[in-house]
Amino acid sequence: MSTGYAVSGGARGRYEAWTPNRGTEIISDHLAMEGATLPILHAMQEAFGYVPQDAVPLIADALNLSRAEVHGTMTFYHDFRHEPAGKHVVKVCVAEACQAAGGHVTSEKVSKALDCAFGETRPDGQVTLEPIYCLGLCSCAPSAMVDGRLIGRLDDEEIEEIAAECRA
């Protein structure tokens, strides 16, 4: 037996389809919180894989905010997606410590191996590749996160493994 905590990875097929009812349910789960906007947006993304545009007026009404305010918050933060991501999400750290460990070469290799540019979802919808600014793994750089799974000292072997994972 094992105590402690584990963070599950895997973006695969764990999202629900958006319905206004489900959206309203998520909102009401958070109404008791002070400053509920970000927790609601996170919960929406957790449920649907992105924050549907239709959720904005629902959130605004429930929190007594204007739609512009909710829209402004949602678009300010990089985390919130406006459309579903690819089946796999690969994030590669491009911050200084990873650069010091050869990260610029590594990130280009990842992009090539996945045939996907940074900030884009491949046309077949199989993978989204994103830059990330430090995962706190700067002592075992360069680093990446694949569907929630952390990888340190990213090397050619790991890149091949990522590419294989993303073919599935």
């Binding site: 037996m1 402690g4 200084e96 410590a97 430090c134 700067c138």
Partner: protein, 461 residues
């Protein structure tokens, strides 16, 4: 109780190097052999080049093996790891490894040692002694104790924590908040992450003491979304503390109330700046507020608010438990106590190294870190993150001290040291990060923050 106990770090750095796979492989192998073993997912001891570093509890104490891969598991069991058996990965007592033995672990004393999910383990290792003393002292004397310790904010600016707390304590009674800045956005820093993952109860205790000291009953930890393991560990610990009466009404049988929760950031670097962080918790865009008013007077939801970095708050339980003097007795000049330094980038022995102020950069990067991973000469070190500076070799003898760093136009910041070898193209780094800064500081950053940063100025001079 199981017959055997094995520690396999659940720290994100260890996990990134394969610790989850190692834990699974052990679990499977033990099941096959019918061995009853408790696997504890502890924090990291901070020697990241040895991760995953597992520790077996033997009759002679804990014996470390590392770096372990799943393929080593069968061999380790055959070697008799619970007897401390010989194996090529055997490290012996990990606390005797020079990198570890030379440290002064005040704040990180329990990280890697305890089970981060167990409140009992925390209490068994001196946990909640600080809170007990704070309850005895009462609010005002607790504030003074923190002031006397000389503790300065570890989030970057080095502002005396005691003065910040005094300001909030002096505000009229009413709703007040303790906010913990766990945004840790600077590259090269991971101390906040490590302590939240490895010893989350220390942060809970630190925030509880802060609440008691200034009369706040509610706390928020604003943690960046890039740290899912830290968020998980904090939430597990908060639940356990609440269940045991260490959070909620009349904490630990005292007259004080305090509760707290974690709020997740959403990928905006600027939200590490304290006023923009407050805006973000309130549910708004992370725009920097004009000061004054100070957050201490008008902070979260317009109420008096203490906002401190994770390490600042995690230093408090030690100070209360051991007395301000024990903390202030170490250090250099007006920089008292210890600093958890993070050795990163192109580094041979990277990890977390807690030591009293006054250590020089040269000792750190040459002796402790052993130079670069690539084996090439060090070209420069970036200290203090993107707002700090790139220091060339001729400045390596500068002692770690807020004032000494200011004198050379540098910053200690959050204590991150990123090592670069001679292959680095400094102009490219500077330019690139100038671009990054522009992107990440989305929203209306203050003009001062958009000045060319020190590192850039230094290298183009």
């Amino acid at each position: 109780m199981s017959a055997f106990k094995l520690y396999v770090p659940g720290d994100a750095a260890a996990v990134a190097l394969g610790a989850d796979r190692v834990a699974k492989a052990f679990e499977k192998a033990f099941a096959e052999k019918g061995m009853d073993v408790e696997i504890v997912r502890n924090g990291s001891r901070g020697m990241h080049w040895l991760e995953p570093l597992v520790e077996a509890v033997t009759p002679q104490g804990r014996v470390g093996y590392g770096p372990v891969k799943a393929k080593h598991v069968a061999g380790l069991i055959d070697a008799g790891l619970f007897e401390g058996g010989e194996h090529e990965l055997r490290l012996g007592d990990v606390e005797k490894i020079p990198f570890f033995a030379r440290q002064q672990r005040f704040t990180f004393a329990r990280v890697g040692l305890v089970d981060p999910a167990s409140l009992e383990d925390y209490v068994a290792h001196d946990g909640y002694k600080g809170l007990k003393r704070a309850v005895e002292l009462g609010g005002p004397a607790t504030v003074e104790e923190v002031f006397e310790s000389g503790l300065r904010g570890r989030g970057g600016a080095g502002f005396p924590t005691g003065i910040k707390w005094r300001t909030v304590a002096q505000c009229p009674p009413g709703q007040k908040y303790i906010v913990c800045n766990a945004d840790e956005g600077d590259s090269g820093t991971f101390a906040d992450r490590m302590i939240m993952e490895g010893d989350p109860f220390t942060l809970i205790e630190g925030m509880t003491i802060a609440g008691l000291a200034v009369g706040a009953t509610k706390g928020y930890v604003y943690c960046r979304s890039e740290y899912p393991h830290a968020i998980k560990a904090m939430n597990v610990a908060i639940k356990a503390a609440r269940k045991a009466g260490y959070l909620g009404k009349q904490i630990a049988g005292s007259d004080y109330d305090f509760d707290m929760e974690v709020r997740e950031g959403a990928g905006a670097y600027v939200c590490g700046e304290e006023t923009s962080l407050l805006e973000s918790i309130e549910g708004k865009r992370g725009l920097v507020r004009a000061k004054p008013p100070l957050p201490a007077h008008k902070g979260l939801f317009g109420k008096p608010t203490v906002i401190n970095n994770v390490i600042s708050l995690c230093s408090v339980p030690f100070i209360l438990a051991n007395g301000a003097k024990a903390y202030a007795d170490v250090g250099f000049g007006r920089s008292r106590g210890t600093m958890p330094i993070q050795l990163a980038g192109n580094v041979k022995y990277g990890g977390l190294y807690e030591i009293a102020f006054g250590v020089t950069l040269r000792e750190l990067v040459e002796d402790v870190a052993g130079g670069t991973f690539t084996g090439k000469p060090i070209r420069a070190c970036q200290v203090g993150g993107p707002l700090g500076a790139y220091l060339p070799e001729h400045q390596f003898d500068t002692p770690f001290d807020y004032e000494a760093f200011t004198k050379i136009d540098a910053l200690i910041g959050h204590g991150g040291v990123v090592i670069f070898d001679e292959d680095v193209d400094m102009a490219r780094m500077a330019l690139r990060h100038g671009v990054l800064r522009g992107r990440k500081l989305r929203g209306n950053a203050r003009p001062a923050e958009l000045d060319p940063p020190a590192g850039w100025r230094r290298w183009t001079r």
